[in-house]
């Protein structure tokens, strides 16, 4: 269970890394692309930026859903305080 959750976590992390990395590299090496207006008169910079925020939330929810209520392990609890 722990290994499976760990793997899901890393896969989702890798997905986000690609999305974020794409945003950062585009801004650094092709900033003109960010001025294009692909949708509803709004530029790519804003759409991609919002997209990253929404994606973070969706991936987080997906992770929560896939892991269920399971704890990877019972860690050290506060023993007798």
């Amino acid at each position: 269970m722990q290994a499976r959750q760990g793997r899901i976590g890393l896969i989702l992390f890798a997905i986000y890394l690609v999305l974020y990395g794409g945003f950062v590299l585009l801004n650094a090496f092709a900033p003109e692309m960010m001025e294009r207006l692909p949708f509803a008169g709004i530029n790519l910079a804003i759409l991609y930026g919002f997209g990253l925020i929404v994606a973070a939330f969706l991936l987080a929810m997906l992770y929560g859903f896939l892991c269920g209520d399971h704890t990877r392990s019972k860690g050290p609890q506060e023993g007798g305080e």
């Binding site: 959750q5 976590g9 890393l10 989702l12 992390f13 986000y16 974020y20 945003f23 950062v24 801004n27 650094a28 090496f29 900033p31 960010m34 001025e35 207006l37 509803a40 008169g41 709004i42 530029n43 910079a45 804003i46 930026g49 919002f50 990253l52 925020i53 929404v54 973070a56 939330f57 991936l59 987080a60 929810m61 992770y63 929560g64 892991c67 209520d69 399971h70 704890t71 990877r72 392990s73 019972k74 860690g75 050290p76 609890q77 506060e78 305080e81």
Partner: protein, 656 residues
């Protein structure tokens, strides 16, 4: 600008703080043990902890700093929003659950879980203290910046008030109280930001000649540059009676022209704006703040007044053109807010200091009418302008910053300790998800708030930190009072978390584990409270000393140091069995010192702190992240390989 202390603001502020303190005392009775003091007995419900993450994390830098940056320069402030939030993904997917599994109270616990090494605890404890103090300075400076205009008190009073209140909160109840304060603050911040955003959308955009005070900034010309400029200007009919001032000294090289009103001698500065298409020049009225050598303060050429109606800087932030020649848009939607702005023109303001030979310093705030398409694209702010330059090194600075933001969140000690306040890993995970949702939602709002402030006509041209509260003031006095009180308690919330993390570092990590002081549980709590007071006092002093320094700049420091010092060890412990304790110690020490050294030797620090020219700086670009974070990883790997025999017996992935 003249800020009148608002009675309503003070009243609401006292109610907030009073309620917070009351809550703190009431909850204080439950936190007698160290488990209670540092980790709230691990009994904070995950939803509450999640919102508390937001309350902890969304500090003055986020609310005031980002909105202010967007209000003054456009899109670029939003890059911080994106970077800060992305860091939470690292926290959730890489760090949260393992952290919970490995430790009891602090970050050093987690790092040391398999090694039982005093060296690690020492390095981690010091790293926690260093990062927390760096993070504290901008918060305290932010408090001073807020209080000054709101309550009319000088900067140091604001700093003292925050410091004292936080010390009382942290000393009386520790993590339990801090958590509930942050929960409260987080909810209020998100809710009222949403309300403010709704009001911005309902108001829409209107073309105006100036700010909220109704003053219309004058534009003269166009002047033909082929002739003698001075004669052309003097011949302008609108310059009714005003004489041209002959430029001398520092003014001769500047892009400004001055005229004098013969009646009271007041000097108005105009910026010269080239109209490339017609080869002519326009004169745009600028605002000025002049400090004479004998200490007199002049605003727009006249002595600064203290009461309303007397000479002061005009509030700014007006739209000069709307799409299709409209003058008023009426309410706009979530998407049409941007598409409308894209086709509009807004007046932004730049500033330049002119130092004359007799010691007079004039700061000129000049108009920069900017097209919406430029405002909404990245790269307009001086710190980010590098992305448009052809040189790779400038782009490297940008990449480095985005990397530090991405890695920094998961490495901040005061965020990491919040994993110990919930009862198990599932709760740690769920609370992080709630945190991400609320923080993400808030960051979406910052773009609306910043751009709304930019077009509000209520901004103070000298102070971008006040953009969000002033936006609220322009809407409703009550909302302003509430937002200001929230902004202030924002600082309270973050500072509490930081002081607690520092107290934990001192008590739990350094004294107990490194110096092997055998303290009973009650003694530990007492020591923690004493260290809270000491750290709080240090923070107050530093906050007063660093008044002049840019807030978001300091926060960037903290992120870079945290990411370089803490993240390599945290990640490698989880994923590489070859990690040795010497590797961890080396990585923390090298990461922390290299990022600190880089910052101290960078162009930004040279120009802003030492006052030396930025070109003399020793390092090629200012943000250390892209160099020092990999350096931390490399150091850990190299040292671990060299000390192979000290590897712990069991593989790390299994539970003990």
């Amino acid at each position: 600008m003249i800020y009148e202390p608002s009675f309503v603001a003070v009243a609401i502020f006292c109610v907030f703080v009073g309620f917070t303190l009351g809550l703190s005392f009431w909850l204080g009775s439950r936190a007698k043990s160290s488990a209670g003091y540092f980790a709230a007995h691990g009994q904070i419900p995950w939803f509450v902890n999640g919102i508390a993450f937001a309350g902890d994390y969304l500090s003055a830098a986020s609310f005031l700093g980002i909105c202010g940056m967007i209000a003054f320069y456009g899109y670029d402030g939003f890059l911080y929003s994106i970077g800060y939030l992305a860091g939470w993904i690292v926290a959730l997917f890489v760090v949260a659950e393992p952290m919970k599994r490995l430790g009891r109270f602090t970050f050093a616990d987690a790092l040391d879980a398999k090694f039982q090494s005093r060296g690690i605890k020492l390095a981690a404890g010091i790293s926690t203290l260093a990062v927390s103090v760096f993070y504290l300075i901008p918060q305290m400076v932010g408090a001073g910046v807020l209080v000054q205009p709101l309550l009319g008190f000088p900067h140091w009073v604001g700093v003292l008030m925050v410091g004292a209140t936080v010390i009382v909160i942290v000393v009386t109840a520790g993590m339990v109280s801090t958590t509930w304060v942050q929960f409260l603050k987080g909810s209020l911040l998100v809710v009222f930001s949403a309300v403010l955003t709704g009001m911005i959308l309902a108001r829409g955009f209107t073309v105006k000649p100036g700010g909220d005070d109704g003053y219309a900034f004058r534009t003269l010309g166009p002047i033909d540059v082929s002739g003698v400029i001075e004669e052309e200007i003097a011949a302008l009919p609108e310059l009714d009676g005003e004489e041209l001032v002959v430029p001398k000294g520092a003014w001769t090289e500047s892009p400004f022209v001055r005229t004098r009103d013969p009646q009271d001698g007041a000097v108005t500065v105009w910026s010269l704006e080239e109209q490339k298409s017609s080869g002519t020049v326009l004169l745009r009225e600028a605002q000025t703040v002049t400090e004479t050598a004998d200490g007199q303060l002049l605003v727009n050429g006249r002595p600064k007044g203290d009461e309303k109606g007397e000479p002061e800087l005009h509030p700014v932030g007006h739209v000069t053109k709307l799409p299709d020649g409209q003058t008023k848009t009426g309410p706009v939607g979530l998407l049409s807010f941007f598409s409308t702005l894209q086709e509009s023109e807004v007046v932004l303001w730049g500033n330049e200091k002119i130092r004359e030979d007799d010691g007079t310093v004039t700061t000129v705030y000049y108009q920069r009418p900017t097209a919406g398409s430029r405002i909404l694209r990245p790269g307009e702010h001086p710190r980010f302008a590098g992305i448009r330059s052809g040189k790779f090194i400038d782009k490297l600075n940008f990449l480095s910053l985005m990397l530090a933001l991405f890695c920094g969140t998961a490495s901040l000690p005061h965020i990491l300790i919040r994993y110990y306040t919930v009862k198990d890993e599932a709760s740690a995970r769920k609370s992080t998800i709630v945190g991400i949702a609320s923080i993400g939602f808030f960051y979406v709002l910052t773009l609306y708030l910043g751009l709304g402030a930019m077009t509000s006509g209520a901004m103070d041209v000298t102070n971008s930190n006040m953009a969000a509260p002033l936006l609220a003031k322009g809407m409703s006095e009550l909302l302003f009072a509430i937002i200001s009180a929230i902004a202030f308690t924002t600082v309270l919330g973050t500072v509490s978390g930081l002081i607690l993390a520092s107290a934990g570092a001192v008590t739990h990590d350094l004294l107990t584990n490194v110096f092997n002081m055998d303290l009973s549980d009650t003694e530990k709590v007492r020591v923690a409270k004493i260290s809270s007071v000491v750290v709080g006092a240090v923070a107050i002093v530093l906050g007063i000393l660093f008044e002049e320094l840019n807030v978001s700049y300091l926060v960037g420091w903290a992120f870079s140091v945290a990411a370089s010092a803490n993240l390599p060890s945290l990640v490698m412990i989880l994923f590489w069995k070859g990690t040795t304790r010497q590797g961890v110690i080396a990585a923390v020490v090298v990461g922390m010192t290299s990022s600190l050294a880089w910052i101290l030797l960078s162009g930004d620090t040279f120009s802003k702190v030492y006052g030396l020219p930025a070109e003399d700086a020793i390092v090629p670009f200012s943000q250390p992240g892209i160099v020092t974070i990999p350096l931390g990883f490399l150091t850990l790997v190299a040292v671990s390989l060299l000390t192979r025999s000290s590897r712990p017996g069991e593989p790390l992935a299994e539970t003990v």
